[in-house]
């Protein structure tokens, strides 16, 4: 009995299946890249087809997008710090850093929804032109990914809070961090190709 108890108290050992799971998640992320590449290609083809509607320079605000970008970049950073805390088995720090990540991600989504609703209410919805359809599809798909990531993060934070840091939760945090950094990279390309090039 005592040996069982000491084993539970020990810092968990990671086994080989972790490698397989992380690899599988990596393959998923790469296929998701292909999905975004298709949407980027659609946007690149259609971004001049404004059909008499507004173009990027008229509807995008670079300063607003810069704030969104910095919020997402910072959340990627705090997510990484949270992961280090998880590897060091510091439960409270993990909950703290991932809560900060969650709030930054949430403010990103709220800003994006506000931007979308502003566009739709001023008559420039996805129905207006091919440019706006492709814009809403590309940016909306990214926003949907971020939202799914936020839901996953919330569930994980609650699990760690109630059940503590287990071997499985450290693995899930690793996968979540990979997903979060991946979304950050996709956003950098949306920031550059859609907003910065659209504005200039």
């Amino acid at each position: 009995m005592e040996s069982v108890n000491t084993q539970i108290q020990q810092v968990p050992k990671y086994d080989k299946t972790d490698d397989t799971i992380v690899f599988g998640f990596w393959v998923y992320l790469m296929t998701d890249c292909v999905l975004f590449a298709a949407l980027f290609a659609v946007y690149a083809v259609l971004h001049n087809n404004t059909f008499g509607g507004p173009d990027g320079a008229q509807i995008f605000s670079p300063s607003y997008v810069l704030v969104e970008t910095i919020a997402l970049l910072t959340s990627s950073f705090t997510c990484g710090i949270g992961l280090i805390s998880a590897y060091n088995m510091q439960k409270n720090r993990v909950i703290g850093w991932f809560s900060v990540t969650f709030l930054l991600g949430l403010s990103f989504v709220v800003m994006e929804v506000a931007e979308f609703s502003h566009l739709i209410h001023s008559g420039d919805s996805f129905k207006r032109s091919a440019f706006l359809s492709s814009y809403f599809t590309l940016v909306g798909t990214h926003g949907l990914h971020v939202t799914v990531g936020l839901i996953g993060m919330l569930i994980l934070i609650i699990r760690i809070y109630t059940k503590g840091l287990t071997k499985a939760s450290v693995r899930r945090l690793t996968l979540l961090s990979l997903f979060w950094h991946f979304l950050d990279i996709i956003w950098i390309f949306i920031f550059t190709i859609v907003y910065m090039l659209g504005f200039s």
Partner: protein, 128 residues
């Protein structure tokens, strides 16, 4: 066997996932984002140079984040991860470059609009 292929989580804990690594990666990312923003906001460049520089900054940031946040190239990243990554790059390149190539070609071979045809006929006017 175990020594040759260390567990990915153990390896990140020991080498990749250090707070300094994340701070450096974060600082460079913010810097690159701000450069792109300043160039765009103050219209420092225009046309072809602007597009090339902004795309270059984005690709630079892609590699910065891959190295500092994904720890790509650390020893536990098996060659399969890199292989899948390169395969993805190939598919993405074919998809994006191919789409743009085909659509540009199609646009230039499209039937002209009525307005363009009338302009053309007026230019050729004397013969009609």
């Amino acid at each position: 066997m175990d020594i040759e292929t260390p567990n990915i989580l153990e390896d990140w804990k020991d080498h990749g996932a250090k707070i300094q690594v994340y701070i450096v990666g974060f600082a460079i990312s913010i810097l690159l984002t701000l450069i792109a923003f300043v160039i765009t906001f103050y219209h420092l460049l225009s046309g072809w140079e602007n597009v090339a520089l902004l795309i270059f900054l984005a690709i630079l940031q892609l590699f910065v984040q891959l190295i500092f946040f994904f720890h790509i190239g650390s020893k536990a990243q098996s060659k399969w991860n890199i292989l899948i990554f390169l395969f993805m790059i190939m598919i993405v390149a074919i998809l994006v470059i191919g789409s743009l190539w085909i659509m540009t070609n199609l646009n230039s071979k499209m039937m002209p609009t009525t307005k363009q045809m009338i302009q053309y006929m007026n230019a050729q006017g004397a013969a009609l």
